[in-house]
């Protein structure tokens, strides 16, 4: 049976204000077309759960005033520098941040994935990350003979995840290849929307090779076609990051007015309240 195909704008409408939104890393499938549509529809009070970090996607949403809080191991433009709107929002005390570390973010979603209330993780003990996370717990490993402190991380179910991928078949099976963290996000999310470069006829399950890189359709609510939907981020082997654009963004976003000008260049503006 064919998957529901909707528009990028309809996906942005389906992400409710206040949602806990799953965010993929820059090397994964960043849904930038939907990100711009979220800014266009003036989404607000979003909480971003990054697996495990975010780049221009999170920085733009923060700068545009769409974000109330963020859980991440890093917010960065990578080789293009710090994430300026993120840093500014933190320094101004305008953004609620729950600092984390990459494997902890994986662990909290994997707990949802496995239907358990928590999962343990090594590391963390003695860090200030742990000290500022009252929602995490340290227990003594019950299988150890002697004291062995260990952190338990609660499952963190996501409301919505939006990802971008190279292609889907008409049933809605999505090719994600080695980017299995996208599957983790999706498994942990109540609702999932996917934008794709194109929709192909042949089922991904026709061959073992494409099947191994699939995200099965039954996790996906709807898809939208969005050519260059990750731009200016890159997409696996299809297109590299647009370094010129990212450099332009990194420079512009250093100030609130520069950021507003950058948005204006895309026909967008920050939320009035922000």
């Amino acid at each position: 049976m064919a998957i529901q195909q909707i528009s990028v704008e309809e996906i942005a409408e389906a992400v409710p204000d206040g949602a806990l939104l799953g965010i993929p890393a820059d090397y994964s499938g960043v849904p930038m077309a939907v990100t711009r549509a979220l800014i266009a529809r003036e989404a607000k009070e979003l909480r971003l759960f990054c697996l495990p970090l975010t780049t221009i996607q999170g920085d733009m949403l923060i700068g545009a005033g769409c974000v109330a809080g963020i859980e991440a191991a890093a917010v960065t433009l990578g080789e293009y520098g710090l994430a300026p709107r993120f840093s500014a929002a933190i320094e101004a005390g305008l953004l609620d941040i729950q600092d984390s570390t990459c494997p902890a973010l994986h662990t909290q979603l994997q707990a949802v994935e496995r239907g358990v209330p928590f999962m343990p993780m090594r590391g963390l003990v003695g860090s200030d990350i742990l000290r500022h996370r009252p929602d995490w717990r340290v227990i003594d490993n019950p299988f150890a003979d002697e004291g062995d402190p260990l952190v338990l991380l609660p499952a963190r179910p996501l409301d919505v995840t939006v990802i971008h991928a190279p292609y889907a078949d008409s049933e809605g099976n999505v090719f994600i290849g080695r980017r299995r963290e996208l599957a983790t996000l999706v498994h942990a999310s109540e609702r999932t929307f996917v934008t794709v470069e194109k929709v192909v006829e042949q089922s991904l399950f026709e061959s073992e090779a494409t099947a191994a890189g699939a995200l099965p359709a039954f996790y996906v609510e709807a898809i939208a076609q969005a050519e260059k939907g990750a731009w200016p981020c890159g997409l696996t082997d299809l297109y590299p990051p647009d370094g010129g654009e990212l450099r332009r963004y990194a420079e512009a976003a250093k100030t609130a007015t520069g950021f507003a000008d950058y948005l204006a260049g895309l026909g967008l503006s920050p939320r009035a309240a922000a």
Partner: protein
């Protein structure tokens, strides 16, 4: 033929990776990355070099969690970490300057350090900037501590701190750094003046330059590989253009 400061660092880091089975390097780390590629080429047995966020030299297939799983399994021998601040107890801070959470200057965040620093046996702290701003008495935020209390599971941790001026070994018992090597052009005094934390003194020899043969190999054979991952670095260092995208 004289080695540049970067080539000196690549050479000394490569020595430290000899014999490893699996070395992982971050995407924004051209000097450690070059060292890993050099060590791999010189190794007589299989050495996996994973350059994170590259597609070609990253053979993880289960998404970004596999690096951390692999490290927690004890399968990653060496890893590099940096820090906005590194202190005398080898605590690292990748989060920012000032009081948390509303910091004076906010940096990206802790990445995977709060696991990797605990489980990778040989973590090399690498920070080219060697100043009282980067090497401090006490970090403002502990992304990951340099050592842990008795009883805390900690098969890994810091081995050394390598900077643009010197090499410190970390003494896990004393929980202090020990200065072992200073790079050509530096003195014990100049290093002390640039370091914000107290440390012990070891033998303190001058960092040896790479042999002419190794330098030739690095420039001839390794540089083009480096260019695949770190094109701007390779271009700047050796005038080598990238042959294909990583």
């Amino acid at each position: 033929m004289k080695a540049s400061r970067e080539e000196l660092l690549i050479s000394l880091l490569a020595d430290r990776l000899a014999g490893d089975r699996h070395v992982a390097v971050g995407a924004a780390s051209p000097i450690p990355g070059s060292a890993a590629l050099l060590a791999k080429a010189e190794s007589s047995r299989p050495m996996q070099v994973t350059v994170l966020q590259s597609r070609r030299h990253n053979h993880f297939v289960e998404g970004s969690r596999e690096l951390f799983d692999c490290a927690a399994q004890g399968r990653i021998d060496s890893f590099f970490l940096g820090g906005v601040q590194i202190d005398g107890q080898a605590n690292i801070n990748l989060v920012g300057i000032g009081d948390y959470p509303r910091m004076k200057k906010r940096f990206p965040g802790s990445f995977g350090s709060a696991l990797m620093y605990y489980v990778v046996p040989k973590v090399i702290l690498f920070r080219e900037e060697h100043s009282r701003r980067s090497l401090v008495e006490k970090v403002d935020f502990i992304s990951a501590p340099g050592s842990s209390e008795e009883g805390v599971y900690r098969p890994g941790g810091p081995k050394a701190l390598v900077t643009g001026r010197a090499v410190f070994e970390f003494d896990r018992i004393r929980r202090r750094f020990r200065l072992e090597q200073i790079h050509p052009g530096e003195t014990k005094k100049s290093v002390e003046a640039a370091t914000g934390f107290a440390y012990d003194l070891g033998a303190v020899t001058e960092t040896p330059a790479p042999s002419a043969g190794r330098l030739e190999f690095l420039r001839g054979e390794i540089a083009p590989k480096v260019a695949q991952f770190y094109p701007e670095f390779a271009e700047r260092m050796w005038g080598v253009a990238a042959q294909s995208a990583a």
